[in-house]
């Protein structure tokens, strides 16, 4: 993974890295990616993708009513950790900058 590629990925991941870190990550991630590429040796044509640690027999869809349950938290409890509040609204900077009108 080149330094430019690291930069592209950090933009996607919403992280900024100084140039020396991008160089370091580029080297380290190359080594890790080289290692993880060995998975190719394991794949047969028959293999099906699996995203869970459970055997299929233990997995079922879990649906419930769209209703709050299982908690005694109040709105105030939940808002207590919010960095910037205005009343009971979570405050965020404008999504569009001034120069975008």
């Amino acid at each position: 993974m080149g330094v430019g590629e690291v930069e592209r990925i950090t933009t996607l991941a919403k992280i900024e890295l100084p140039i020396e870190k991008r160089t370091k990550y580029s080297r380290q991630l190359d080594e890790i990616l080289g290692y993880v590429s060995t998975v190719n040796k394991l794949i047969s044509d028959k293999a099906k993708p699996h995203s869970s640690s459970m055997p299929s027999r233990a997995i079922s869809n879990v649906c419930r009513e769209d209703r709050i349950s299982g908690t005694d938290c109040t709105v105030e409890d939940l808002l207590a950790n919010v960095p910037e509040l205005e009343g009971t609204n979570i405050k965020v900077p404008a999504v569009l900058g001034d120069d975008n009108g």
Binding site: E16, L17, Q28, E31, L33, S69
Partner: protein
């Protein structure tokens, strides 16, 4: 090294009135403050003493559960209502959860006492606690060495007798590897048996909460206390657990790939082989088996886990909770970029970048898609092996505890210390690390794993093993 009272011992003393929970709790709080291990990142001093007083009243009434009045430590990645929970990350430096994790509710239901929150590698990412934002924890057996990780604080607190017992979490070995390096028991239950509600997510398809204990009997007590169906966790198992089978005659398989791997220390191998001889004395039969996919498991893990990390850690954006630069950022994008860049540590960033890369357009099929297929092959391999044997035994970690700084600049070397533990998480099966003979004064662990949902048989085997080697409650 004597590591003090087990749950069984402390329960006996509390019931007989030899000591009160308040007195025991006070003793532990004093010891923690005098300790230089840095096992804890936060203490629950007032809360613990209050909980202990309540427990003493409960004990007097005779309404006693196995954990009533027992002073415990909780890995600081498990939410505790009103008690700061940091995941050892600067991004949660001042986060106070408004709710208890289900496991904490269950402990409080038994009137257990929470002494405090223990140190870990940031967001449970690491094998040494060197990735903690609050300095590493020292191994109580040798303070120049790491306690393992990521549940290194919990392991050191148990091994150094700074609590009776502790909870940790295990995504790729984070309970078993530190248990091995500190000379205690560490159990990762079957995926879905213990609720993950309130566990700060690292890789949701792999994370499990479990106990770190001074005895195998304690591991079973803790497991029974924290397990069970929970509607708040959509991956919680609804079916009743399998019944335990008899220990005598259990077939134990030794994967040749585990014993032939290059990185395995010779002395560790011999020590584990002696542990296996003890299993034979219990009436288990032992044979060599092959798990050909195990050599690829770490590679599969280092694709799947970072993808889930990148997704789970996207919630830390400086808006809803956690540290934030929002007060002086110009745009929303600046809030995201500056908050995450400033407050995430290096390993968290590395895994976020890796996970974003292997799941991004153009690379998804080559990495994440293939890893998901390989995961199925690993599970099938275990399933096939478990048609011939009941338990798989081997080393927990290829080496004893290593020195601080030895691997911290080489991420791949650090990842390799989880080579035996990671396959188990990908297959979702239960697994326990039990102490075997030390090597040059350093603890070594043997890993025992059983079929999906066969936790009780595995724990009973560990208890029988402890009895035969003359462990704490043996």
């Amino acid at each position: 090294m004597d590591n003090g009272l087990t749950v069984k011992d402390a329960g006996r003393d509390l019931r007989s009135g030899k000591i009160s929970s308040r007195e025991l709790t006070k003793q532990y709080l004093v010891k923690i403050k005098e300790s230089d291990l840095n096992a804890y990142v936060g203490l629950n001093e007032k809360g613990a003493l209050w909980e202990a007083e309540v427990a003493d009243k409960v004990i007097k009434r005779g309404d006693i559960h196995p954990l009533t009045g027992i002073p415990m430590a909780i890995k600081d990645v498990i939410s505790t209502k009103g008690l700061r929970t940091t995941a050892s990350s600067k991004i949660l430096d001042n986060y106070i959860p408004p709710f208890d994790a289900t496991v904490i509710k269950k402990l409080k239901g038994q009137n257990a006492v929470i002494l405090g929150k223990t140190n870990l590698d940031e967001f449970a990412m690491g094998s040494s606690t060197e990735n903690s934002a609050y300095s590493p924890t020292l191994n109580p057996v040798d303070k120049t060495r790491v306690p393992g990780g990521s549940s290194g604080g919990s392991a050191a607190a148990v091994a150094g007798d700074l609590c009776v017992t502790a909870l940790g979490s295990d995504t790729g070995g984070s309970i078993r590897q530190p248990a091995s390096l500190c000379g205690i028991y560490g159990f990762k239950p079957t995926y879905g048996r213990v609720s993950r509600y309130g566990l700060l997510a690292m890789a949701s398809s792999l994370d499990q909460i479990g106990p770190l204990t001074k005895s195998a009997a304690d591991a079973k007590t803790l497991y029974q206390a924290i397990s069970g169906y929970d509607a708040m966790d959509s991956t919680s198992l609804k079916v009743s657990p399998q019944k335990a089978r008899s220990i005598k005659g259990l077939r134990v398989g030794l994967p040749k790939e585990f014993f032939e791997s290059d990185g395995l220390d010779d002395k560790v191998r011999r020590s584990v082989e002696n542990g296996i001889d003890a299993l034979k004395k219990l009436g288990c039969t032992v044979r060599e088996v092959s798990l050909p996919t195990s050599s690829f498991a770490l590679a599969v893990y280092y694709i799947i886990m970072p993808v889930e990390v990148a997704s789970n850690l996207s919630r830390y954006d400086g808006i809803k909770y956690g540290e934030s630069v929002i007060g002086h950022a110009k745009t929303l994008l600046d809030v995201y970029l500056e908050t995450r860049s400033r407050y995430f540590g290096e390993e968290a960033k590395r895994r976020i970048v890796l996970g974003t890369y292997v799941s991004s357009a153009g690379y998804f099929d080559a990495y994440y898609g293939k890893a998901q297929k390989a995961r199925d092959a690993i599970r099938a391999d275990f399933q096939r092996t478990f048609s011939d044997v009941d338990v798989i035994a081997g080393p927990t970690s290829p080496t004893p505890a290593f020195k601080f700084g030895e691997k911290s600049d080489n991420p791949l070397q650090m990842y390799l210390s989880d080579i035996y533990t990671v396959p188990v998480n990908l297959a979702g099966i239960p697994s326990i690390s039990v102490p075997v003979e030390s090597v040059d004064g350093l603890p070594v662990g043997m890993q025992l794993s059983s079929r999906f949902d066969d936790d009780e048989t595995l724990l009973n085997l560990a208890i029988a093993y402890e009895n035969i080697i003359g462990g704490k409650n043996g």
